[in-house]
Symmetry: C3
Subunit: 339 residues, 3 copies
């Protein structure tokens, strides 16, 4: 994930004293638009869609203030945008809105609306992330909310999170609890623990959310290994809200070719439960990203979802009212620009 | 149109390598508020309105990244704001939200929500633009959407645009197609071709949008010539959605006087069709803009609309529920500040 | 009120001429999140809330352009945000959206949505401001709108304001009129006059708003005196919409202790009118703010509201549907980060 943000250093301006010398506030974002040609059974659609290359379109402000002695304060406000129509997506800084205190040795305490630990494996250990026709989440049931009324597969409001410090010899991790404040499916507790060193990155996560007297749970194990000529990805996700559950297993690879990257993934979703036992799906995705700079890319992605039973997963939201049991396929060509 | 934006140059901060040396991200905007005294027949209103001097109130972010070899990537996110009440107008970055790849020799490919080619003549070749009591669009039927259900007179969602490069000896031009994605009156195709050299600027545009089985079309021809002591403007716009149509012809001038500009325009709208044949109107506008700097002006504008038949055009939106056939007049005093 | 904003000086970038040398545009804001434990009678709630330390969460852009000769143009766009859920609060730049012309000797003319003169005493002369469980406004009836349908106790749309210049030997003041534009309770006229010199700051305000044939009025007198070891605050507010009225009297103090500040306040609200004569309340608040830098603090606040009659004031909005006549108490621990 390449991010080249414009850093507005206070120090540049000679207007702040030494206390702020290390402090920065950044404007950052992504504008990613593409042409999408997608099918669900006999239905086909041609649309402009956004967010086909790892990151969806977004705009944000974030900053870190060095408080001295290894301590820092940070904020992060990030909104989702739909530049094909100009609309904001969701409620405001719905991607993330947090304030943090962090210490080099003791880790980070983070408050606000944030990604859950459950989210990261699905996103990080997939060559296509969770966006576009090739996104690994296309056949994850309930995405971005979760199975059976849980709303915490990706994000949680009113959360308190703790992140391990970065000096643990490659180990990283986080725990989070989120208060429901009276809303069903919004209470969350979860954790993630990983190890990254050299070419290897591996992590496991667990999360749970009570929904109407039942308990929604998800767990995942994933990793990536970069051989240089090829980087391999794998992730296994299971979400359960008894008597229903779904497993999602994904294998992927990316191959750098000059300024470009060839990417491929295959994923399999297996749903269990009364009346949905046969509603399984397989997704295959193939793509090429050509980086014009560290910030800007053009890309093309092809993907097919084979649905079984009454599964009606599609490669693109542009396919509204998808046909149960029908396969879906799509092609996407776009520009992704990060700032 | 004077725009002095704050350019946040990455190079200033010593945090990015040479690849970004030519890259900029800008925060820009306009806050324009005025006191409006307006009448429609016997009804009068006193209100605070926004956007009386060429540009309405807005806030945006835009940037360009030099990719080398004449190639550049750009984004533009621009929201409309109503600072008299603090409200955002519309859906988000509703004025414009685009991503582009452009090349010095090959022109620009632009995706997203953007102005249609149809819009520019009406705006560019009028001394008052399309805002305020003197705005040339006050007697354009359906503005900002279009006649008979078309929504593409000013902007289009899901658009793919191509702009000619700037080295064509004064010729400029653009074509645009926009996908409706299931929404009536939103599919658009159009083009604009112009020539600007020295004091002369002249352009023609054409656009069309299918609406419920019929075809909405608009065409315009306009230009300006700057004699130094006076600049002259003229534009002719015709929009048609058979059996209805409207023509709008405008003549204008601006005279620089020290740090100020005196502006005047006269426009005539002629509507045709069953039951609306007599609904014509004439608008006369007179104004003075005093520039306190390149970015800031105070201004006063007076305008009158003479309605015929059942025409009910008004000089200001503050006049809700206008009286059919009654004349409308208005006076506006304001401050316009660009950043 | 500590504000350390990132100032993006145009002069830094070498892109603007000398006319803009003194001009700045700033991105600024606050992210303040806390854990709130609150009770109303037997009902208790545990929630994440925002804005517990003087300033609520917000994001804004503001700028000043030096026009020469003592004249300047300014804009201010400030939005309210709720980072616990990521939502924008209200309509856009609802905290303030203004454009100004100001002169060193003649004062400032300001247009737009702005704070009323009525607001400032309640906010400025309280150690807790008007936010959090200790906020002085918790027992002000109708806050942030006003008694009996008036909506102008804190802010007004469509306002024209005049501020005295700053060179009047310590005297400061402002007058404001706001146009209703057809909305009940939105027409406002008011003024504030104060004197600040050395350790002393004292001010009085008056405001009125017609509501459905009656006249809403508020008046306040407040001040602070900084003895160094302790700063004392006092404010008296009376709002009336006959036959109903309420008085609110507050005393407060703050004591600096190293990098921290201990704060305390007691307030008494007395409501009068048919059926509400007994609905009075007392609030006591105690807090400690520990500043980690000029921009960042951690804080803890405890507060109790004793309700009489059918008064149902609470220490936190998280207590929806409060119990009439029951006491409310709360504890809040948070992080406040300004940028």
């Amino acid at each position: 994930m390449i991010r080249s943000t414009l850093v507005l250093a206070a120090g540049c301006l000679g207007l702040h004293g030494p206390a702020l010398a290390q402090s920065t506030v950044s404007l950052f974002g992504t504008v990613d638009l593409n042409l999408t040609f997608a099918k669900s059974g006999e239905r086909s659609v041609r649309a402009m869609d956004q967010g086909g290359n790892v990151l969806p379109s977004r705009l944000g402000f974030r900053g870190t203030e060095d408080l001295g002695g290894g301590l820092a304060a940070s904020f992060w406000l990030e909104a989702a945008t739909l530049p094909d129509t100009g609309e904001f997506q969701g409620v405001g800084w719905q991607r993330r809105s947090t304030v943090s205190l962090s210490h080099n040795s003791f880790g980070e305490l983070r408050l606000g609306r944030d990604y859950t630990p459950s989210f990261w494996n699905v996103s990080q250990f997939s060559p296509f992330g969770t966006v576009g026709v090739g996104g690994s989440s296309n056949i994850v049931e309930g995405w971005p909310f979760g199975l059976g009324g849980a709303k915490t597969l990706v994000r949680a409001n009113n959360s308190v999170g703790y992140f391990l410090p970065r000096n643990l010899g490659g180990f990283y991790g986080q725990v989070m609890v989120a208060m429901p404040e009276g809303q069903q499916g919004m209470k969350y507790s979860g954790a993630r623990l990983g190890y990254a060193s050299g070419s290897l990155d591996i992590a496991a996560s667990y999360g749970q959310t009570p929904v109407e007297g039942r308990r929604y749970r998800n767990a995942s194990l994933g990793g990536s290994y970069d051989f240089g000529v090829v980087k391999l990805y794998a992730n296994y996700l299971r979400q359960k809200n008894a008597p229903e559950s779904q497993t999602h297993a994904m294998l992927g690879l990316s191959v750098p070719v000059g300024a470009g990257v060839i990417k491929a993934s295959i994923a399999r979703a297996n749903r269990s439960g009364p009346g949905v036992d046969a509603d399984d799906a397989t997704q295959v995705a193939l793509g090429y990203v050509h980086w014009l700079s560290k910030r800007t890319a053009v890309y093309g992605t092809w993907s097919v979802v084979r649905n079984k039973g009454n599964a009606a997963y599609v490669v693109s939201d542009a396919l509204s009212d998808p046909q149960a049991g029908a396969n879906s396929r799509g092609l996407q060509f776009g520009i992704s620009h990060n700032f």
